[in-house]
């Protein structure tokens, strides 16, 4: 491939499979804002599908990590995620407290057990 094309390829993909399939729902919302309400069954089902996809992405990032995170053992990543989540629940659902606790656990575990 032509070098300029190679350079622009990721941007083209961003628009084609990132921007367009994402933006279409916002535009739909604008166009159909008068028709549907938040409690309609299609909207409820789509929200559940969207949540499950997001959860799948989260689990894959923790369990099948890449790069620098992969150097930290799987058991440390899982225990840190669980600990962070428990702190989140205990701290009246504070995202900040949960993320901080998870990070501290990950770094401590990674420092002790990384190879």
């Amino acid at each position: 491939m032509n070098p300029l094309l190679m350079e622009l390829w990721p941007y083209f993909l961003m628009v084609l499979v990132g921007y367009l399939p994402n933006e279409v729902w916002r535009v739909f919302g604008l166009v159909l804002a008068r028709g549907l309400n938040e409690d309609s069954q299609v909207v409820v089902w789509s929200r559940a599908v969207a949540t499950a996809i997001l959860a799948g992405v989260i689990a894959k990032l923790i369990l099948f990590s890449t790069g620098a995170l992969a150097a930290i053992p799987l058991s440390v990543r899982v225990i840190a995620a669980v600990l962070g989540f428990l702190v989140f629940l205990g701290a009246r659902r504070s995202v900040f407290a949960g993320v901080l606790a998870g990070e501290i656990a990950l770094l401590a575990g990674g420092f002790l057990f990384s190879h």
Partner: protein
């Protein structure tokens, strides 16, 4: 901004815009966005994309889940239609958000083109804050205030994307690993925090279980199936519970 009996009005649209930007900078979402986009910056570096690619995707896509899907699939040779499908399924949640937001923004003299920018800006952070703040603002000031606030959030996200990218490039491996851990952790907890109904909680748990299972089984289009299977199961349980109570 306290709720007042008389709606708060600003002298000009630009005054409302800057007041909106100010609410963004002082909001709790600032920390969440900064952490999330530092993580996404590190992820971008990890997958060999450029920092400007990330900045442009933050402006154009403006949805952290879709951006993470895009970053983690676009360089790994996944089928383009699978990436588009996963992105579009992750973005479905934007639809009800826009539907709920438009009546708050729309006034008697609002034209459709005035709503285009707020429509593009719609994301969790801006949506929660708009529904909280805008009802106490005079109608003619709501759109500029919303745009100012959203621009503030977007600029924050773009800047912290660069921060994460260059930190990941320069930090020792353990700390770079810690940055990559920010994305799943902040997603996990902000999704859990938004999950008030059993339906959302079940969708979250099922996705966490089914996603890795399908990856281990080496199933094609694993994210799409995770969403369809996990989401539909959660929906069915929700329907059955509603029917029996």
């Amino acid at each position: 901004m306290p709720a007042m009996s008389a709606p708060v009005a600003f002298s000009s649209p630009s005054a409302a815009f800057f007041a909106g930007a100010k609410t963004a900078v002082t909001s709790v979402f600032m920390l969440v966005l900064a952490g999330t986009y530092i993580g996404i910056g590190a992820l971008t570096h990890d997958f060999g994309l450029s920092s400007w690619w990330l900045a442009i995707s933050t402006v154009l896509v403006w949805a952290a889940p879709a951006q993470v899907i895009l970053i983690t699939t676009v360089t790994t040779g996944a089928a383009l239609f699978e990436i588009a499908l996963a992105v579009t399924l992750s973005a479905v949640r934007l639809f009800p958000m826009v539907v709920a937001l438009m009546p708050v923004l729309r006034g008697p003299t609002t034209r459709l083109r005035d709503l285009l920018l707020p429509t593009h800006f719609t994301a969790v952070s801006m949506w929660v804050e708009s529904l909280r703040l805008l009802p106490s603002i005079a109608h003619q000031c709501r759109i500029p205030l919303c745009n100012g606030m959203s621009a503030g959030y977007m600029a924050t996200a773009a800047v912290f994307g660069f921060v994460g990218f260059y930190l990941a490039a320069g930090l020792p491996p353990l700390l770079a690993g810690g940055l990559l851990f920010l994305t799943p952790m902040s997603f996990l907890m902000s999704t859990a925090r938004n999950a008030r109904m059993m339906l959302d909680k079940l969708g979250l748990v099922l996705g966490l279980l089914i996603g890795p299972l399908l990856t281990i089984l080496d199933v094609n289009l694993d994210l799409m199936w995770t969403g369809l299977i996990g989401g539909t199961l959660a929906y069915l349980v929700h329907r059955i519970r509603e029917a029996t109570t």
